[in-house]
Symmetry: C2
Subunit: 326 residues, 2 copies
Amino acid sequence: MKVLVTGGGGFLGQRLVRELAQAGTVQLAGRPAAISAITAFDQAEGAFRHPLVRNVTGDIADAAQVQALLDQDTALVIHLAAVVSGTAEADFDLGMRVNLEGTRNLLEACRHRAHQPVVLFSSSIAVFGGALPPVVDDATTPTPQGSYGIQKLIGEHLVQDYTRKGFIDGRAVRVPTVVVRPGKPNGAASGFASSIIREPLNGQPSVLTVPPETEMWLASPRAVAGMLRHAIALEPQAWGWHRSLNLPGLVARMDEALAVLRKLGGEKAAALVSQRPDPAVIKLVSTWAARFATPRASAMGFVADASFEAIVQSHIDEQLGGKVPH
Amino acid sequence: MKVLVTGGGGFLGQRLVRELAQAGTVQLAGRPAAISAITAFDQAEGAFRHPLVRNVTGDIADAAQVQALLDQDTALVIHLAAVVSGTAEADFDLGMRVNLEGTRNLLEACRHRAHQPVVLFSSSIAVFGGALPPVVDDATTPTPQGSYGIQKLIGEHLVQDYTRKGFIDGRAVRVPTVVVRPGKPNGAASGFASSIIREPLNGQPSVLTVPPETEMWLASPRAVAGMLRHAIALEPQAWGWHRSLNLPGLVARMDEALAVLRKLGGEKAAALVSQRPDPAVIKLVSTWAARFATPRASAMGFVADASFEAIVQSHIDEQLGGKVPH
């Protein structure tokens, strides 16, 4: 069987492409499946080279291009491609084009296949905003307060209906803010949560753009990749009719995050963080939920990180070869 | 100021066009406004003739055509055009084209205006389905079990985000099943609820396609038109940030409906109804909610019908000149 990963050039896409290629097999809807090819689709070419992997560049808003990414052997589609939150808020048209039209194009391309593919849709906790209860749970109504969250929520509804109609076997997971995101800062409004750890550990200065008492719902790239693979592995019956799910994570205050930076990175790293609240960032981030109860996901076997310290340690292990450069 | 009504050829559209044209004025977001022109847009030409009214036919999925329906004086857009529930389920592509792309086209046409227009979006209680609480209230999460409900819910999200961005002053109302709908049967899965009253009162046979104990959440055309005008009349502050609203209605069992038919239409009318449950109709209708608590709408001043008998009596008054033909 073949796999398609959209956003295959991003940090999470590249990680999943690498993990799947190296394994050569994937647990798919309750059964192991041998992988014959992986298409990594992105606007910029992915850097990962492997005999199973074909890197394809293009525009997900181009329906014909997206149609050509699948064939009758495509049994798994991992849809990560998206314009991130800050960018989708600043450029409304771009967000609608990529996040809404792109998702529609992909779902249409998945339809009319001889065998319905498993489609994993990466949604976001940004679907929750506004007047929220102290703890968001599985029954809380999504009320996004940003265009990114609106577009992700619409994507979930489409995945839900395409699944109900039998066009696909869809699964949508609301991913916590991913920390520590490797690579360079991007347009995500939540970027500071990674930057305040990643940059200082590399000897670079960084700015905390929200008040230190700000809480966020977080998960590491390692935990998120694991949960995405688990979402793919589960049998359809484990999902039932409701195909959107709040993923587990952990809540961290930004001042606690800085204390962990000091503990694992030393005083020198901690001193590289300055605090300069940015009203535009605060406006968007303050509407997001930070505390979740995720009994449904836990019952389905999803597991998050053990602690914020474990998150930073996994970053040091994976990205810095196990130790902080001094 | 000018008014645009999409679905202006439908029974509700024609009614609103007539009421607005005859009044020559409309209470708009807290202030009275004089109407200089009304465009009634539909795929088939509206029958209502009036100096203020321009009937325009076309395709709401054609973005350029929709753009041409508005100008800088358009201060009110009433968006009723839709492919109904049964049709949207049977023809998925048509539903997506009209209900999703059509709504996007209209919202885009409303954007970039010198003054943001008030946009009233007619949503539906079909956004509620599946595993619902015994009484749906203002906090119940919409989980549609049909493509029509999904498309309406996506439309609500777009209205919400276009309003938050300041592109429009949007208001979305979830309309109960409208009974007694005048005219001919259409593709709405809920059509039987009107047919079992309308046809027998006209001396025609009719079929109840659901079990007699089926309950539905109903409102008369008169009540719905009044609530749509109220939704337009309210000041933006009355709506606040959340621009979707469950409208009041009343719950009626279909056997109670038949008892009212017998009371107001006589034995001859009642005998014209046969019972023949249709699994396809039951499948769709049984997922809809029948019992609602609507405290938010009541606090905002929305008022539904007094009783099912009052609903049937208003049909007799409006459509049959006040008495049942024998």
